[in-house]
Symmetry: C2
Subunit: 388 residues, 2 copies
């Protein structure tokens, strides 16, 4: 994806490739207000900016967050269930390294899944392609394959995103509980990447919940809430595991950044976080999802193109089964026509066999201004007509 | 050091253990002012807080910093010589992993050296104990041993702190140039950890410079300037290496935090950084160093205790050659008497043989309020009288 940064700097390029959260004006105001509080309270400023936090993250923030999560989720956490890292990606690197000690693998139970998981050596990852389920004329979804169960030897942990980046699909509650139970039976942890999900930023459209499980590791982030610049990842798990991870984090990163936690504390304490989640972020994304589906239905009407059912997040995953060219050629053709997407084959951490289906898929990001998204989809439709 | 956090929370404990920078009121004012600028300029706020930076760090900041460093150091950098990370420790982890690929080692040419380097498996590190040079009645220093040169097979890179954490000593310019040349002859990079040094925070008391070298990797940080909460590490090197590291950083951390870079940009642009360095931070630390030496001369006058010559930083390294107990027992005895230091044996990354000398050493941190430092030194003196 090196050329994506170059594309970013090309004027007129319709960037539907990245994973940046939308800039929502009402949310920006709330964030500015929160940081202003940190700046103007001298003692809070000193604690936040001029001192290292606890290596597991600011103690007071972890207490505030535990209370908030308990109230929202009905969990029973203390600060010792929570570790803060400088962003989710650093957390995944640490978790993956920890769980692959002793020649064990990380298993991704439902490909396609997040491109950024592919940071381990090939032999330390195993990705299981999902089973396609076609739905109506224009949509589809992936289901966990029965092959998962027979591939759980020499495994360190399972990892899956929910909502899924790239597809926007979500494991149902029942599927999640089954996966947790399967992991439990094998003595494994399930790392659940909630970067777009519950309980925050809660870009979730259907009815889904997030039950507690002792073998679950829930990874949250402030990035998709709208704060990617403060690099705040949140890892929630049982206290034994969090204690171990906190020691690792101390060695590897000394301490996480404090500004994200300080801003989030302000947002929780003054009630702005709930306002953000319920009144700003979710309505914005529901409306955006509906608009994008309308664009797709209109522009793709005459073509054999399916998109994954959207349960959450801000991506769409497009499957064009009649394309005759490779995924890379398709990506290049889009780029020549000034649209940037992410090709489907990128979302295959641990894939061991060729999976031609992915060559016919790509991910759209839909957080850009609406006219850019629509022009992008219109261009994609035109390009796809030339390659079938 | 797990018990150090517990000690931190014990009332009345004299904490001379940590590495936190001193809280200097005039510096805090300047930092608050810089963050205020970021908060109140909406576009700057959005760029900083609500968007991911370039994976190598904000492009504009890297340009501003390159210009600043060129002007201060007479270097010839562009932004492509600079990588920003979420704190120095993350940078060291990335550098060490990169340079130990293919079963090569990181060599620490002059032990004792920073405790935090010990993040690699034992077989990937080699530390060479320094040669003691006793100076006058009460001081000493370490010099690079001739054994270094015969231990440079299967090596990936050299790494050393300057000023040294823990000793406060600094390689002279000539020693540095020799070490760079030795590395160059073997085709190696030298990682120089300038966390306390040049060009910022420049807690350097004697005449030392920092010449450019194509095989040098200079690691700076905003932490000891007084901004540890924003986790900003700065890695400077030749463009080939920085390009490679930037790709690694993108995979491992996505992007660094943006608030430290944004604050530093403000400080450079409005001239406050030079004011901070020249008029606040350096004078404060010179005065503190002189006071602490006076405390040591007074409280240790009747004892056989030496301290390392102090060229920079904010630590003192104490050597009590007549103690009859182990370093750990000494540490515990200090703690019972309500002083926390860091025992000397902790500063031995890659040490392959027992080095009894380190059992007789410990590190003091001198950034705490002055009365705490003096009471700590007085207590240490009393305790040491009981163990010789």
């Amino acid at each position: 994806m090196q050329d994506m940064s170059a594309a970013l700097r090309t004027p007129g390029m319709l960037m539907l490739g990245g994973g940046s959260p939308a800039i929502i004006d009402a949310a920006v105001d709330i964030f500015q207000h929160a940081l202003q509080k940190v700046v103007e309270d001298k003692q809070l400023f000193i604690n936040t900016v001029c001192q290292y936090s606890d290596s597991a993250g600011d103690v007071q923030f972890r207490e505030t967050l535990a209370d908030y999560l308990n109230q929202k989720q009905g969990w029973n956490l203390t600060r010792d269930n929570i570790l803060i890292t400088s962003g989710s990606q650093s957390a995944f690197k640490m978790l993956f390294e920890y769980f692959t000690k002793g020649r064990r693998k990380i298993v991704f139970p439902l490909l396609p899944d997040y491109i950024g998981y592919g940071i381990l050596p090939d032999e330390d990852m195993l990705g299981i392609p999902g089973e396609l389920e076609l739905i109506g004329q224009d949509s589809f979804r992936y289901n966990i394959s029965a092959r998962l169960e027979v591939n759980l030897d020499d495994v360190g942990a399972l990892c899956i995103s929910r909502p899924c980046n790239p597809t926007g699909g979500m494991l149902s509650d029942l599927e999640l509980i089954r996966l947790l139970e399967l992991a439990e039976q094998r003595g494994l942890n399930l790392i659940l990447d909630n970067a777009y999900g519950q309980p925050l930023p809660n870009i979730v459209f259907g009815k889904h919940s997030l039950p507690w499980a002792d073998n679950a590791i829930y990874c949250l982030s402030l990035s998709k809430l709208g704060l990617p610049g403060v690099r705040t990842g949140i890892v929630i798990g049982n206290t034994r595991l969090i204690t171990t991870l906190a020691e690792l984090n101390a060695r590897q990163a000394l301490a996480p950044g404090s500004l994200g936690p300080a801003m989030a504390s302000v947002l929780i304490q003054n009630g702005d976080l709930d306002k953000l989640l319920d009144e700003i972020i979710k309505p914005w994304h529901i409306s955006r999802k509906d608009q994008v589906i309308e664009f797709m239905q209109r522009h793709f009407a005459e073509q054999t193109i399916r998109y994954h059912e959207v349960d959450g997040g801000f991506f769409n995953w497009i499957y064009c089964e009649n394309t005759k060219i490779s995924g890379h050629e398709l990506y290049e053709k889009f780029k020549t026509n000034r649209v940037v997407v992410v090709p489907g084959y990128a979302f295959a951490p641990g894939l061991k066999h060729d999976w031609p289906h992915l060559q016919q898929c790509f991910r759209l990001s839909t957080g850009q201004p609406l006219d850019i998204v629509e022009r992008g989809i219109a261009t994609i439709s035109r390009v796809l007509q030339t390659v079938v």
